[in-house]
């Protein structure tokens, strides 16, 4: 199968992929931030700054997605990743399905 490269497609694809990855990292950072706050090692001010930073990042990402019209592309990448992980987990915890695969 040949890859159909047109400029718009490429931009959507690559940018979508990049933003999707940044979103995944953002999710991980957010998780850690909440953990740190729960751990009680941060002052109120630090907590607020951390939250503010993450909020800004989220807003910036949303803006980029809206501007570039790549919300759909990002969603596709993330859904693809989710499905992949789901499938792997599903197979791992259900050995009876192993023999049925493919």
């Amino acid at each position: 199968m040949s890859i159909d490269i047109d400029e718009k497609n490429l931009k959507h694809g690559v940018l979508g992929l990049v933003i999707a990855l940044v979103e995944v990292i953002q999710d991980a950072l957010r998780l850690q931030a909440v953990k740190r706050v729960e751990g009680g090692s941060l002052t109120d001010e630090e907590t607020d700054r951390l939250g503010q930073a993450l909020m800004d990042l989220e807003e910036a990402l949303a803006e980029i997605k809206a501007q570039q019209g790549i919300s759909e592309a990002v969603k596709n990448v993330r859904d693809g990743l989710d499905d992949l992980v789901d499938d792997v987990l599903e197979q791992m915890i259900n050995p009876s399905r192993w023999t049925q695969a493919e």
């Binding site: 990292i25 909440v34 907590t47 049925q100």
Partner: protein
């Protein structure tokens, strides 16, 4: 990549892995290792079998079966006695030139009575019963190549024909062990497909008879339970103390802190939702199990609509006359707030073959 970012990401990934380490280890210990050992043992046995079997001796029932696609609802599984292999004919050197024909298998029935199915098979093939003593096979003659198509409509038509034949066999014989779509018996070691199939029926007779007995007067029913996730979340935010406290805290905090608290609230909500799903799954499963002879848990399918999320997908084998009892039980679940039930059947016992 910027080495600092790289380092940061690696640390985060490690932290997540470290946290889950105990769980992962347990999973591998409990499930993977045992199963892997079993698979390796089986593989070894299979390989060795070829070397120790003497010429002319009857091989273990290694019938050539190719499974390409699963039929739609309910999903069928290949017969347990048959091995799924990639090549319709495993031993090239034993194949006679021009002897590429095969038999397409629809299902196994009790032998004895003949019934003319006529040209109702896939692509209008004539379907008939190959008698093998106590058991019989519903088949049509075909080439050894599996039915494959990239055209969805064609595959759908084939699947429908496949199911129609099984339904007909079910009607005529009262009980049938359905086989998966594209189960083809090919010629093997100088034997014709008919001889191969008969040998297989012979070797697996006890297994088939046991299954036929088990399926007698019974049918498969599909049970799917859905719930309205947003409505459930509302219930949680009303009833759960931790959630109520968090919601109140968010109001009092400054912007950045409130943001982090909202993240936490989301996580707590998700956990609560999962706990609830788990709780109801157990409850429903127990009560449904009480109404069925056998229950298989199938993978839930994701639907776009959050107000109709599937939390349970079961295949139940039960006496046909008791389907009303199960129906009443399901009615009770369906009446509960936030829950919906889909009850389908009777089907031939696809999931239990």
């Amino acid at each position: 990549m910027n080495p600092m970012i790289r380092e940061r990401v690696l640390i985060e990934v490690r932290a997540v892995l470290d946290e889950e380490r105990e769980g992962i280890r347990r999973l591998i210990r409990d499930v993977l290792r045992e199963e892997l050992q079993r698979l390796i043992r089986e593989e070894l046995d299979n390989e060795l079998q070829e070397y120790i079997s003497e010429p002319g001796a009857v091989l273990a029932p290694a019938v050539d079966v190719k499974t390409v696609a699963m039929p739609p609802e309910p999903e069928a599984v290949p017969p347990s006695a048959a091995e799924v292999v990639d090549e319709p004919v495993p031993n090239e050197s034993c194949r006679e030139p021009g002897d590429a024909e095969g038999m397409y298998l629809y299902g196994i029935i009790r032998g004895g009575m003949d019934f003319e199915f006529g040209p109702m098979g896939i692509e209008g093939e004539v379907v008939y019963v190959l008698q093998g003593g106590e058991v019989g096979a519903v088949v049509h003659d075909c080439s050894a190549r599996p039915y494959e198509s990239s055209d969805e409509e064609t595959v759908k038509r084939w699947l429908l024909a496949h199911q129609n034949v099984i339904d007909q066999a079910w009607k005529q014989y009262g009980v049938v062990i359905p086989t998966a779509f594209d189960t083809i018996i090919a010629a093997e070691e100088g034997r014709t497909p008919e001889e191969t199939l008969k040998a297989w029926l012979d070797d697996t007779r006890e297994d088939f008879m046991a299954k036929l007995d088990k399926f007698t007067a019974k049918a498969e029913y599909g049970v799917q339970v859905f719930w309205d996730a947003p409505a459930m979340m509302e219930t949680i935010s009303r009833e759960n103390d931790a959630v109520r406290k968090l919601t109140a805290d968010i109001q009092a905090k400054s912007k950045g802190s409130a943001y982090l608290l909202r993240q936490k609230l989301e996580t707590v909500m998700k956990k609560e939702l999962e706990t609830k799903a788990d709780h109801y799954f157990r409850e429903f499963y127990q009560s449904i199990k009480g109404c069925a002879s056998e229950v298989k848990i199938e993978k839930t399918k994701k639907l776009e609509d959050p107000a109709r999320q599937m939390i349970m997908n079961l295949a139940c084998l039960l006496p046909r006359e008791e389907s009303k009892v199960l129906g009443l039980e399901l009615e009770r679940i369906h009446e509960m707030a936030c829950f919906f039930v889909r009850y389908t059947g009777p089907w031939p016992p696809y999931s239990f073959a």
